[in-house]
């Protein structure tokens, strides 16, 4: 264990595949003719780009849940906040091309009778400011929330449920039109980013590559964090929180740090997601969405980072496919998949893959995750 390299087999294989996809998919999209059997249509490219954002979100959750035992049922909130920060910038970029032609106010503000831009919308016309907010808005929320919760030693399901309450409260708040975020409709009708049209293939490819890079980056950051002594303390907190305290570690600080980093990671995922799907609305705050993130991680293999990403890709791809192939029955398939994986694959899909791959070569059990969060 001590000799484990920074990029282990698991991560290496995944990153290599990610690299292939990052280069291959845009190439297959732009270089190959549509008649070619390997051509990837642009809509597939955007779809995969969206999946990659979800994968990054799953990695963010795995960092806190898999390694530190914090089961957040509110990670969708951080994702959505990152998305909203980016959405607000894209909204400001529309300028006078909106339906009402108002150069400053987004359409929804015009018809809700706003006289001027609310204060919290200022600054979002600048790209760098929006990027900063993509990190700061979720980061700050996570910091404040975590500062209270971890200091008060709220743990286990109690913590899970209040994170759920947090995202639920935000859902209700963002639904309110008085909040100035477009209510239920959220933010839509984006035109371009940094002058590049969002519907052009070039921008699509760029966003795709950025998402892939962000996922790779997220995995590397996660890997780095979990490889350090800090990461080992996190696992210690997960397995025996009181022992960690009695060794003199201030558990709340460790939790707070990783929770905040994870929230920022989720924010980045949200920010990349929004221009690719073209809409951000309060639905992203819904508790069911956050539960789904947990399911990706559990299904892929908790506490492995790569497994989380894999789980997200499997579930969302399955959902995309099933909702078209079996529009009336896909929920049966998805539900059954969750049940079977839970019962028969406690280590998740990644656990299964590695078990199969190990086959003849006997190898020590990698960081088994048996303990309760």
């Amino acid at each position: 264990m001590a000799s484990t390299s920074f990029i282990d087999r698991r991560l290496g294989v995944f990153l290599a595949l990610l690299a292939v996809v990052t280069v291959g998919v845009p190439l297959a999209n732009t270089a190959l003719s549509p008649e070619s059997g390997l051509h990837v249509p642009t809509y597939m490219l955007s779809l995969i780009g969206k999946y990659l954002c979800y994968a990054l979100l799953a990695v963010a959750l795995d960092l806190v849940w898999g390694y530190c035992g914090i089961l957040s049922l509110g990670h969708g909130a951080f994702f959505a906040l990152g998305g909203y920060a980016m959405g607000m910038h894209l909204m400001r970029q529309i300028g006078s091309r909106g339906a009402y032609g108002n150069p400053v106010l987004p359409d929804f503000m015009v018809f809700l009778g706003y006289e001027k831009l609310p204060w919290f919308w200022h600054g979002f016309d600048m790209f760098w400011f929006a990027c900063l907010m993509v990190l700061l808005a979720p980061g700050l929320l996570a910091f404040v929330f975590g500062w209270f919760a971890f200091r008060s030693r709220v743990t286990g399901v109690y913590l899970s449920i209040i994170t759920q309450a947090m995202t639920y409260a935000l859902l209700l708040a963002f639904f309110r039109n008085e909040m100035g975020f477009g209510g239920n409709n959220g933010l839509t009708d984006f035109k371009d980013v940094l002058g590049f049209s969002l519907s052009s293939d070039g921008t699509r490819v760029t966003l795709f590559v950025l998402s892939a890079l962000a996922l790779g980056g997220g995995l590397l950051v996660g890997r780095w964090i979990t490889m350090t002594k800090f990461g080992k303390v996190l696992v210690g907190v997960r397995d025996a929180e009181s022992r960690t305290r009695f060794l003199g570690y201030r558990v709340e600080q460790f939790k707070l740090f990783v929770f905040t980093v994870s929230a920022m990671m989720a924010g980045v995922a949200g920010a990349l997601y929004v221009p690719q799907v073209g809409i951000i609305n309060p639905g992203e705050f819904s508790p069911a969405n956050s539960i789904e993130i947990v399911i990706w991680v559990a299904l892929g293999g908790r506490g492995t980072l790569v497994g989380a990403a894999l789980g997200a890709l499997i579930v969302v791809a399955a959902k995309s496919w099933l909702t078209s192939a079996f529009p009336d029955a896909w929920l049966y398939a998805l539900g059954l998949m969750f049940i079977l994986v839970t019962i028969f694959l406690p280590q998740g899909v990644l656990g299964l893959i590695e078990k199969l791959g190990r086959g003849r070569r006997e190898q020590p059990e990698p960081e088994a995750v048996e303990a309760e969060a």
Binding site: A149, S152, G156, V157, S160, A165, L172, E372
Partner: protein, 533 residues
Amino acid sequence: MRILLTLTVWFGLLLASAASAQSLEDLARQLPEGSFNDRAEVVAKIGATGDDRAVGLLNALGEGELRVREADGAVIQVKGRGSKAVGYDPLTGDELGPVGSGSTESIRVNNSLRRAVRAAIGLLTLSSPDAGKRLAAANTAFAAPDPEQIEALDTAIAKEGDAAVRTAMEQARAAAVLASDAPGAEKVAAIGIVARRGGTDALTVLNPYRGDADAPVAEAADKAIAGIERAQQLWNVGQNVWFGLSLGSVLLLAAVGLAITFGVMGVINMAHGELIMIGAYTTYVTQQVIRTSFPGLFDWSLLIAAPLAFLVAGAIGVAIERFIVRFLYGRALETLLATWGVSLILQQLVRTFFGPSNREVGNPSWMSGAFPLGGLSITWNRFYIVIFAVAIFVGLLLLLKRTLFGLQMRAVTQNRPMASEMGIRTARVDALTFGLGAGIAGLAGVALSQIDNVSPNLGQSYIIDSFLVVVFGGAGNLWGTFAAAFTLGVANKFMEPFVGAVLAKILILVFIILFIQKRPRGLFPTRGRAVEG
């Protein structure tokens, strides 16, 4: 004697309207013609005839059963639909035989016409032998004051034997006096009588006289209104408490099953909401069977549905435990994943079998309407739901504290190995405990079907609140769940008038988040074994 009196009154009325006398038959023929306002006048005239047969005619009109026969333009009453439609003479009640579809045209009724019908019927039933009908007539007259009715009311008051009905009639008369051009002093006196009635109805009558040209009348009205409003403010507090208790009972119902499966057993049961939904659908199916086969039992439908819902949801609960959850003990968080899968499947199953749209679950007559309690109007369905919730809670407590099963259940959850040593079949107890929690969720579904949508989404709208209630109360503590449900319900309802429904809910959530910081194990933390997810 009474009949004689009644006849005299009607005769008197008949004479009074003799000036513009038109036969009832003539008037009935005019019903389909003209604008709604014209027809409302016709209705008023029909009421004024005092004719015995007018009540039936007007009722048929109000019910929308009057139709015009296209062949001869005659007004007939049609009962039943489609091929079962049968025509009657609206005045005599004689059967006219089946009515072919398309051979008649309906006589449209709208609210203003319906109001006129109600007023006319009220006038006609002021001397009905049934005290309840007379009271209703008096209340109708009060709500729609009409100076023309003063005379009729006077006559009715004179011979009224029932004190309560007479008071109502006097109040109606006062309201009518207010609307008339009676002298100021008489109106001031009338205001006094109306004010004594209190409540929203009186306010409705009095409010228009606030700025009356006649200064004493305006002053009296102001004073009376201020008095009523003061009284109402007090009652408002009571009303908020009641609304809060009622909301609390809904939360309690939704959460108490979860308090078992999640609080006691530690299973993060995301399918809990769907078990509630199953209970509601069981109620629906029960009512369907009753409607088609035993219509007379409809008022008993909920009582029949309750044990069925308990059994159906309980059986599904046992199945979930046996086939899924039992493999996951010790992996509490993973139960979330599996039960989420179960919840998706249950939702889709219901959608497949019952369709995605709402199903109608009727209120039995004893759960419809409201009764007054002081200045409050308490709706029967909410009232019974509060009782039902508390009864389930008490029953559950007794089951846990007083029965062998309860003892075994507590033994197993507190110390499984030792319970097993002592010969308790822990697997069986686990299954039954989960089944109990699920069955109670089913019972909750029966109650919630009375106030909410019965649709595949029913469960989704309660699951989050349920978890919040259990956690806020302290997982593993039934009393905690009880206190939490009512605390949150009342707090919500007290905030709602000030900040609106949405903000109230947000504030409640923020409050729960902050409260958990203060007491990380909920309102009533369980010492020793609790959910340690």
